[in-house]
Symmetry: C2
Subunit: 393 residues, 2 copies
């Protein structure tokens, strides 16, 4: 028996454990401090009423013989695939029902999709990076290379024709930087991928937070994308599904890199997956109804107001930041040349506010800190008042 030794290539991530440890140590020493967590990457608002109603109805159906549902389609129920295709249509993009694959979340499919590709491929990720892209590939034994996302390129690296990559992960709007590619910038990546016969795995988990009209909600708004992009989407941040679990992956029929990837993915899914729970698919489907869309947009607007409060305070402090406009993440440059952990400690100790040190996301995250807009208005305002009092020049 040979264990997969590629696991030894994966670094243990101590980021969130270290954040939790420093925070609880401080809380223990200062039991009266009212600590506000602004590093949270999870949603806090409940599921919207349309989703709740749809799931109650589905649960009831499962208790009655006549409406009970056993095994479903591997791809997902037609009703949901059609609703998702309809959502794409609202952006002027034609996606067929058979190009939609319902998943139990973007994270799973970001890793699972790799089953389609040989291990002897070069994977390109941007740095700072959501660690899952790197770890899933290291685990399989692939070579991972990095494109630097820095202040100089607005944290939006563009393709370098001297670099050869086969599998390209893009996250736009980006976790952790909040930066988002415009159509024109994405076109450069698509041209690069098509010229090389490479595939782009586009993580679109934060798409619902886009406000800039120049930023596409889907890569398929851009010419040529169907020939090289697999788009991986999630309802986690769009509709508060982090604990409910549902997403979807688009594998266009035009995507033929030697083989028909749509067919290959269906084969993979039918072998290693049995579809998402009927109840959850009914809840997901409600997100795409007019009522559901209206309700989730209220929640997103709530988080966006938090982003506005954050950005206003940072502006008042003269702190440089990225993101916020098209994303629930604000990526700020630590003032006075401080390091990520140094500024983290300062905020914790002197403002009792917890962020996420940027260097946990990669080399280019050093000297940055991530704040999120998933808290309440009250906590966000209070946190920002404290930071202003501490830093305002």
């Amino acid at each position: 028996m040979k264990i997969n030794n590629n696991f030894s290539r994966i670094k243990e991530s101590y980021l969130f454990a270290e954040v939790a440890q420093r925070t609880s140590a401080f809380a223990k020493e200062h039991p009266d401090a009212k600590i506000i967590k602004m590093g949270i990457g999870d949603v806090t608002l409940p599921l919207c009423p349309a989703v709740i109603d749809a799931m109650h109805k589905a649960v009831s159906e499962m208790g009655v013989k006549e409406t009970f549902k056993g095994y479903g389609e591997y791809r997902g129920y037609d009703f949901l695939c059609d609703s998702i295709a309809g959502y794409y249509k609202s952006f002027g993009v034609d996606i067929e029902r058979e190009e939609v694959f319902v998943s139990e979340g973007a994270k799973s499919d970001l890793g699972n999709i790799l089953d389609l590709f040989d291990n002897d491929n070069t994977v390109l990720v941007t740095d700072p990076v959501y660690p899952v892209y790197v770890d899933t590939n290291l685990m399989a034994g692939r070579n991972v290379i990095y494109a630097a996302a820095t202040e100089e390129n607005d944290f939006l690296p563009l393709p370098d024709n001297s670099v050869d990559a086969d599998i390209i992960y893009l996250c736009s709007p980006n976790n952790p930087t909040g930066a988002a590619y415009t159509r024109d910038q994405l076109k450069l990546w698509i041209d690069y991928a098509r010229a090389r016969g490479a595939v782009i795995l586009l993580d679109a988990a934060y798409e619902a937070f886009i406000t800039d009209p120049a930023v596409p909600h889907t890569a398929y708004e851009v010419e040529g994308a169907k020939e090289c992009v697999i788009e991986i989407c999630s309802l986690s941040k769009t509709a508060g599904f982090t604990g409910t679990r549902c997403g979807y992956t688009i594998v266009p029929k035009q995507l033929k890199l030697g083989q028909d990837l749509n067919k290959l993915w269906l084969r993979r899914q039918s072998t290693k997956f049995n579809g998402v729970s009927y109840i959850i698919q009914c809840g997901a489907n409600a997100v795409f109804t007019p009522e559901g869309q209206r309700q989730i947009k209220e929640s997103i607007a709530y988080y966006q107001e938090n982003s506005r409060i954050l950005m206003e305070a940072l502006d008042a402090c003269g702190i440089k930041y990225f993101g916020g406009k098209n994303s629930p993440y604000i990526w700020l440059k630590c003032p006075d040349g401080m390091g990520s952990w140094e500024f983290f400690d300062m905020l914790l100790e002197r403002a009792n506010v917890v962020g996420t040190p940027g260097e946990g996301f990669g080399e280019n995250g050093k000297g940055y800190l991530r704040l999120t807009s998933f808290s309440t208005h009250e906590s966000t305002r209070e946190a920002m008042e404290r930071i202003k009092a501490l830093l305002k020049k």
Copy 2:
């Protein structure tokens, strides 16, 4: 870009498509025929009231800020892991909370678990076989060898010390044959695996159908199992969760094949999985309450009565069969030396009953047919009356 060419090693399975095609062609030609499907591998009874109530409660919690649940534990909620450990305790087996991993079904984990093992390992499966074991391994590029399950060994092959295998799939009670290993037989496999440092992946999806006291409900009833067995379980057949999606995988802490597999699996899951929906975990948890156990046992007794009807009819016809006693599957030997498809056609055309040709499950399935007990009492009785009228000597 290199596609994973191992997909070309996977045979397209035409079994169920061919069954459906022949059945619908016959129905078209004989619109008055009342066809009874006895090949169905899906449950037909609804979820039990305890599960429905628990899921309604969980759905309501998700709609209220104070009780809303975001990301859960990768491993599953403690309340469910503890309930599953309690279920093992009822068989006299001690399993720790941290050894339980909640999954969205056995099928996913039967494939996913392979991420832990190098591709350069030899995989042993029994033949006939649930095709997923073979396909997931071929897809990854592994060598698959077969142990023949035949009438001579009661469809329960035992280890052959002259054969070297690293990863051993056992399904007991078996799909498709319904045969189930006793403790003593399983001990031989466990001794074989321990002597070689091999791992046994035990698919226990049909455990709830066991009636023979000599057949263990879990491999961990057998000495040494914790050192070599990963047990992969499902609520699909136990509690009708085929469309609800929940299972669990046990990775004992004693399982150290060079590395600590429990830790490695947690690392894998935290990278490629985000846990099962809170709502579904609440439903699963209700299965393990006294009320839930009483209710699911009623459904299982219903299916078991179908098995009894099936076996009684086959006895009356003098047809030899395996399974049925500890499983919802009955594996019958086609009479008069008929082939699987020949007998399938005869039953379809002359009794309007649909079974599943055994040869779809492998070389040793030739000349056999699988019937299942997932239909109604009425349909099962009617089907057996017709078969008796056709075949009774």
